[in-house]
């Protein structure tokens, strides 16, 4: 018995005591008629200090949601339309009643995306980027939250330490200057979308309810 408890305690340490839910337990509405077929992405809310972060996120958002089986309205068009209406980022759309998006776009759901952190850290022998995002998907029919997630990734962008100290300084400087952030933006978006129940264009639609790996903490944090 005590052996059993020991292993339970050990397991809790190993998994870091983060309560994980299945997709269906975390997002039950996504397994009912409320599951959207289409997603309208609102212009990203950028709370980070990096001015170009929003462009990286916008350019990489459509693909993971489309690959998850949803119709995603083309952001190249919708961003222009929002901008013409004076909506430069999602903050200005928070107060708009969600059925408006159903009426004017035919969208079943709207996605609010917030860039919380886009920090480039430089050190002599290493460099990394921390990106923290939150995603909230809201039904345009019920105005309920269908899916939400908070996702952070830290990616090493450091130079080559084998080249000696001076070489490393130069390599780090060069790497951070010409760093391609597209794969980083893709990584954070993909990690978040992996927790989302898939939609009608995906072969596993309605069958991924038992897939575990949704952190309740990350689900709730996105709503704060």
């Amino acid at each position: 018995m005590s052996k059993f408890f020991c292993s339970v305690i050990l397991m809790m340490f190993v998994v870091g005591c983060v309560p994980l839910e299945t997709k269906q337990a975390a997002f039950p509405d996504m397994y009912t008629d409320a599951r959207p077929t289409s997603i309208l992405i609102l212009p990203a809310i950028n709370k980070s200090t990096a001015s170009d972060a929003a462009s990286y996120i916008t350019a990489t958002l459509t693909q993971p949601f489309a690959d998850a089986g949803y119709y995603v309205f083309p952001t190249l068009l919708t961003t222009d339309i929002f901008n013409n209406e004076g909506i430069l980022d999602g903050r200005q759309a928070l107060e708009i009643p969600k059925p408006v998006f159903k009426k004017s776009f035919g969208a079943d759901s709207v996605l609010f995306v917030t860039i919380n952190k886009w920090d480039k850290n430089y050190a002599i022998l290493a460099a990394n980027v921390t990106v923290a995002m939150s995603y909230v998907l809201i039904s345009t029919t019920t105005e309920e939250v269908l899916w939400s997630y908070d996702q952070e990734v830290v990616i090493d962008t450091g130079g080559d330490s084998s080249a000696g100290l001076l070489g490393a300084i130069i390599a780090t400087a060069i790497n951070t200057a010409v760093q391609d952030y597209i794969p980083i933006a893709q990584k954070v978006n993909n990690a978040a979308v992996a927790t989302m129940p898939v939609g009608i264009y995906h072969p596993s639609v309605g069958q991924d309810g038992e897939v575990a790996g949704v952190s309740s903490e990350a689900k709730n944090k996105a709503l704060q």
Partner: protein
């Protein structure tokens, strides 16, 4: 000897399949994010054209491989051509998108009617 034959067949299959990378749903995206980012960052005529070329390539490769064109690709190309006042091509592309994805009907029919004005 038999092993060698197997390798040859495998290589032949790989060669014939053309090795196009697609997503699990079966969409081909090419380097979509890259040219889209460049356009957002610096919307010069050259960068818009580069994205347009990329969209045409995505459509061409998808059709060659009998894949459904990914959501939004046809509409995006339609939008960029409408900006050059090529409303006929734009309307044809929007209609193709609506046919593939009926969810886009409300939105794109509005765009078509606003182009006609």
């Amino acid at each position: 000897m038999r092993y060698n034959k197997g390798i040859h067949i495998l290589l032949l299959v790989l060669l014939l399949s053309g090795c196009v990378v697609t997503s699990p749903v079966g969409y081909y995206w090419g380097s979509y994010s890259k040219t889209y980012y460049t356009l957002l960052k610096d919307p010069t005529e050259n960068n818009i054209l580069a994205h347009e070329d990329n969209l045409r390539k995505i459509i061409r490769v998808s059709e060659e491989k009998n894949l459904k064109v990914a959501p939004g690709i046809l509409a995006e190309l339609g939008y960029l051509t409408s900006k050059r006042n090529n409303n006929q091509e734009a309307a044809a592309l929007y209609e193709k998108e609506v046919k593939l994805y009926p969810e886009s009907r409300v939105f794109l029919e509005r765009l078509i009617s606003s182009n006609d004005k």
